[in-house]
């Protein structure tokens, strides 16, 4: 694998060492017919994002089932990069994912990967249409474990479990953790759908993390008309609960949330 100026820059992502070494062997075989440069290997989605922040790549070979952050989630965060690489998923056996890939014409390789298939996929790689966030979200069977924002050419990850609340602004959603705020370009209703088990809507424009709710308080600032506010772990801010969502106060009391 020479450092040819036009070499295709490839990154391998797999949590299993032998799986990575097998792909490495196959890439070497492919390199005899066109220039390929292996720019790095990663053992998880997180490592991949860190690697790409430093070393840009043309193609990522991405395993689906990995601990901490699976391939489908990593692919979604990748799209935040200024010049996202093409993604070719690799998977050993996952009927669900394969069906979804067929349906949305996403590129994938079934393990054990055949030299011929890898060769073809890489030849096409530069022409691969970038994945759309929309498709990836539809394919992913589970909610993401992180949200991501782009900051100075890097993808920054925010663990969903750290988030206190999500509030819709004009075009963005404010993501509040105990320490700071981030702006993400996603829609609140989409986030509500994805994280329906972890978040609850307290207001037309606000979702709070169930796990961080400390309690509810009657706020009687304005005389005559009191309303409920929610207190969150680690935040001084009290967020108003709208009249329509007041039933959640009762549900919280009965441990139904």
């Amino acid at each position: 694998m020479t450092k040819h100026p036009q070499a295709l820059k490839v990154v391998i992502t797999d949590d299993e060492t032998p799986a990575r070494s097998r792909v490495r062997d196959l890439l070497e075989d492919c390199a005899s017919s066109f220039p390929i440069e292996l720019v790095g290997e990663a053992a998880s989605g997180r490592e991949l994002l860190a690697l790409l922040a430093k070393t840009p790549a043309d193609v990522v070979l991405l395993d689906i089932r990995m601990p901490e952050m699976d391939g489908l989630e990593a692919a979604q965060h990748l799209l935040k990069l200024p010049d996202p690489p093409s993604v070719i998923f690799t998977t050993a056996y996952d009927d669900y994912a394969l069906k979804a890939f067929e349906l949305h014409a996403v590129d994938y390789l079934v393990k054990p990967i055949r030299l011929r298939r890898l060769h073809d996929a890489l030849t096409r790689a530069r022409a691969i249409t970038p994945l759309s966030l929309d498709v990836l979200q539809r394919i992913a069977p589970e909610p993401r474990k992180h949200l991501s924002v782009q900051e100075r050419g890097k993808v920054m990850l925010i663990a969903v479990s750290d988030i206190r609340y999500l509030r819709a602004e004009l075009k963005y959603v404010t993501v509040r953790t105990a320490t700071r705020e981030h702006l993400v370009e996603e829609s609140l209703s989409r986030l509500e759908q994805e994280f329906t088990d972890q978040f609850v809507r307290i207001h037309r424009s606000c979702l709070v993390a169930k796990a961080h709710i400390l309690g509810f308080e009657k706020d009687a600032m304005e005389p005559g008309e009191s309303h409920w506010t929610v207190m969150l772990n680690g935040l001084d801010e009290k967020l108003p609960v709208s009249r329509r969502q007041q039933h959640i106060v009762k549900e919280f009391g009965r441990n139904l949330l």
Binding site: E16, T17, P18, S21, R22, D25, A92, K111, P112
Partner: protein, 337 residues
């Protein structure tokens, strides 16, 4: 090797040494004495009196029968079914007459309804033999089914493909390890494809588990650590095959794969008097998301244990804060000499 399906006698005649079978016999006999007492009496106090009188004769017969049948179990199973049935009926007749004779000696008077007891005894014997015959017939398709389930539940495609991938990745760099891995795979699949109705020695199962874990270690490396405590295991204890291996597969799938950090799977096998205990532990995180499959495997194993050991085997799963534990108890049964 003890087999559940060797000859018709083995299938139709129950295992008289099984606690579940003994209990069933005693419960049915007692139920019949209650019915007899009800038929003979008109009032509540009369019923109790009658029942005690009947039980005083029937219970010694029942207990003696259970003991005698238990003692002659393996011998009875070698006979032809009809011969065994005839022998059992005569044995029961003898026990009944003996108990009646003995009772007469104690009471110093002849039992007035001795004839009725003899009839009751023979009838109950026939009813019980018929009952166990039907029950075993009803269960034998279940045993065939159990074999099938064992097959289907075991071959998790996930594992098959992962192993093939791991071996492929070794071939160029380390051909010898690749060879060893393929040998392990061959052994594993030989057992997976075998007719798994027969009980097999515990040491075979443990060997199978070692081969399986060696394959998993190929691809998971240091992430999979195994803690064996099997030095005191009864190697000759018989158990249904593929009970521990699928549980270890679960342990790897749910306990090791979801984390980048190394995790320990521990296997602890020992015996306390007549019981063999097998305890498997693996790390566990509450946010794990594949649960249905796990319950299916547990249900399948529990069913097979029950088919082979009835009430004498148990499987308990416990979820701790950071640990998952499965504890299996089976009776310590050795292969016939």
């Amino acid at each position: 090797m003890a087999s559940i399906n060797q000859n018709p006698t083995a299938t139709l005649l129950p295992n008289f040494r099984n606690l579940g079978v003994m209990l069933r016999m005693l419960v049915i006999i007692t139920a019949l004495t209650v019915i007899a007492a009800m038929l003979k009496s008109s009032s509540w106090s009369g019923f109790l009196q009658q029942w005690f009188a009947i039980a005083a004769v029937v219970q010694p017969i029942a207990i003696l029968s259970v003991l005698l049948l238990g003692a002659s179990n393996s011998w009875l199973h070698k006979l032809e079914y009809r011969a065994a049935v005839v022998l059992i009926v005569f044995a029961e007749l003898a026990i009944t007459l003996l108990v009646l004779r003995f009772g007469a000696l104690i009471l110093e008077s002849e039992m007035e309804d001795a004839g009725r007891y003899v009839f009751f005894s023979v009838a109950t014997t026939l009813i019980l033999i018929g009952y166990f015959n039907l029950r075993n017939r009803a269960l034998s398709p279940a045993l065939a089914e159990a074999r099938l389930q064992a097959l289907q539940a075991r071959i998790r495609p996930h594992f098959l493909f992962n192993s093939i991938n791991a071996v492929l990745s070794l071939i160029r760099a380390n051909p010898r390890r690749a060879e060893a891995a393929l040998e392990d795979m061959a052994d594993l699949f030989r057992v997976l494809m075998a007719d798994n109705r027969d009980l097999a020695p515990l040491e075979n199962e443990v060997e199978l588990c070692r081969q399986y874990l060696a394959l998993e270690q190929l691809r998971l490396g240091d992430r999979l650590q195994i803690d064996w405590h099997v030095d005191n295991m009864p190697k000759d204890a018989l158990m249904p095959p593929l009970v521990l291996q699928p549980l270890l597969e679960n342990a790897v799938y749910h306990g090791i794969e979801p984390s980048i950090e190394p995790g320990v799977v521990s296997v602890n096998i020992y015996h306390v008097r007549d019981q063999v205990h097998m305890v498997l532990r693996n790390p566990y995180r509450k946010d794990g998301s594949h649960h249905a499959g796990n319950k299916m495997a547990l249900g399948n194993i529990r069913e097979r244990l029950a088919l082979h050991f009835d009430a004498e085997a148990s499987l308990r799963a416990r979820v701790g804060d950071s640990e998952y534990e499965v504890h299996i108890t089976i009776p310590y049964v050795k292969a016939d000499e």
